[in-house]
Amino acid sequence: MLKSKSGRLGALMLALAIAAPAHAETLLNVSYDPTRELYRDVNAAFAEKWAAEGHEAPTIETSHGGSGAQARAVIDGLNAQVVTLALASDIDRIAEAGKLPADWQSKLPHNSSPYTSTIVFLVREGNPKGIQDWGDLVKDGVEVITPNPKTSGGARWNYLAAWAWAEKNGQDPQAFVGDLYTHVPVLDTGARGSTTTFAQRGIGDVLLAWENEAYLALKEIGEDQFDIVVPSVSVLAEPPVAIVEGNIANDAQRELATAYLDFLYSPEGQALAFKHFYRAWDDSAVAPEDVARFPKLDLVSIEDFGGWKKVQPEHFGDGGIFDQIYTAK
């Protein structure tokens, strides 16, 4: 299956490369790690649609990495016209560097987030440790795999979801989260690294993962090996998208970039997001099974924590609460 997928992709890209006239518009989308599969499909579908509307076939490149590292690359001169990152705070940094207006998040619907996701648990087949909710993670003998919140956007959501649960259940959130991290044997630098540690290396009893990442792991690594457990409380993660105004070369490129992001909100783009296990907004063109898999759960948004501008330094900044967890005696 993998083979045919990459083969088809290769053929498609080759076709694009051959078909593209010398001065076709190009677009660089700088994105974060778990969106690779999504944007591979989006780019192909959008290019087809754009060409069908009578434009020259565009060349759309994507770059993936940790959300923070990618934002830094754009600040340091990576010539991205579109950014699709994990955290609004990362795009805020690019705005601070003057590459896009400070009010970028109000330019597109839903806080500029065409799709959302949440944090769920991935456990081993049959859930041998009986893990149902956040409280079960700190039981004796349970090992939890999550990436480092310092280097991974997803891990920050993991941390905040645990914090939210403790608050709602009358526990001291800092003590609970501190306890949780004593159950973590490996802190990978990114979400994919953690998935590999859990799934391929057999470490740990439960993986805290993006919902889309958990479903993808089931699909790619084996449905018979893992189960997804949905906790009572989780977070509403809104990965935002934006046009990097400072890197737009001309009007034709702006038109292309605008159409590209609008496409993400179109029924077709939304259907692709659903297909890749994201919770999108418009399900009018979606196969019913792609929607039905998402259970309803109590979602806390970043605004409930006071927004990234407050959360980032307080929890994850130098000497913040996360640092204190490890250095407190």
């Binding site: 830094r72 480092n148 310092k150 490996v186 994850f316 130098d318």
Partner: protein
């Protein structure tokens, strides 16, 4: 040769002084000194007290200590194993020797990230070696032992490759003379051969140590990356970069640079001194 009144450059009849010095210093400046200068400048604008404050943090000192401790252990292992390997490869004849000789360079050839993934696959509890270790109650991957193995891997070729040519140069007569004078074989090895190998072995040791301290790609997969326990210094730099904290990243980078540079300089000085001594004896 007295130290007093020694000119900056001693006049010799050799040609090409300005050309070779020109190329050396120009490339050194563009490739090494300018970028490192940019790093130091960043540190300077951050301020010495701030740099020291960052370096003095518990997590930073712990990771620096861990990086240098494990690198030192790995380099020591490579020193012993590397000399042994060089001796075996030069002096003995056995089937598969050529293959073994070529394999010594493999750690240079394998991309570090690939090496990291492969080593983790081997030493994880469900891997080939990891499951064996677990049977006797040892954990390798995601512990300091795992980091040690990755560091041994990346530094493996240095000592062997610097010592090999020296062993090839050793004149058989020296050993024969020692044997004729009644020294046992082990005595000859220890007191005649080993001192001859030491300068080259030290070079290899220094390179292996330096390489291990800075290694990131292969270690990151096999280390657990838990603060204060299995978190290496290069990872802390990456973490600071993720937070857009260039100043703190530069501070830790400078600390690593200063320590490594001091160690390398010390080893190079020891070598030059020992060469002078050897020359006079």
């Amino acid at each position: 040769m007295t130290m007093t009144a020694r000119p900056l450059v001693h006049k010799t009849a050799m040609p090409g002084l300005s050309l070779s010095a020109g190329i050396t210093l120009t490339m050194l400046s563009i490739v090494v000194l300018l970028p490192i200068g940019a790093l130091l400048l960043k540190g300077a604008s951050f301020g010495l007290t701030n740099v020291l404050e960052v370096v003095g943090r518990e997590r930073v000192t712990a990771s620096l200590y861990l990086s240098f401790k494990l690198s030192l252990l790995a380099a020591l292992f490579n020193l012993v194993f590397g000399v042994l390997l060089a001796w075996v490869l030069v002096r003995y004849r056995f089937p598969g020797k050529r293959l073994l000789d070529a394999a010594v360079d493999l750690p240079f050839a394998l991309p570090t990230a690939v090496a990291g993934i492969a080593l983790t696959a081997l030493y994880a509890p469900n891997g080939a070696f990891g499951s064996l270790a677990q049977a006797v109650g040892l954990k390798i991957a995601y512990t300091q032992v795992g980091i040690f193995i990755a560091l041994v891997f990346v530094g493996l070729p240095f000592v062997t490759r610097t010592v090999q040519p020296v062993i090839e140069e050793i004149e058989q007569e020296v050993e024969e003379a020692s044997a004729t004078l009644g020294a046992s074989r082990l005595h000859t090895l220890r007191h005649v051969i080993l001192p001859m190998l030491m300068p080259a072995a030290l070079t290899g040791f220094a390179l292996s140590l330096a390489r291990a301290v800075g290694e990131y790609g292969s270690v990151i997969f096999i280390a657990g990356n838990i603060p204060l326990r299995t978190e290496i210094a290069p990872l802390l730099i990456v973490i600071q970069l993720e937070e857009f904290n260039y100043d703190a990243a530069a501070a830790i980078g400078i600390a690593m640079l200063v320590i490594s540079f001091a160690m390398l300089l010390a080893i190079n000085l020891i070598q030059i001194v020992s060469r002078r001594k050897m020359g006079h004896v």
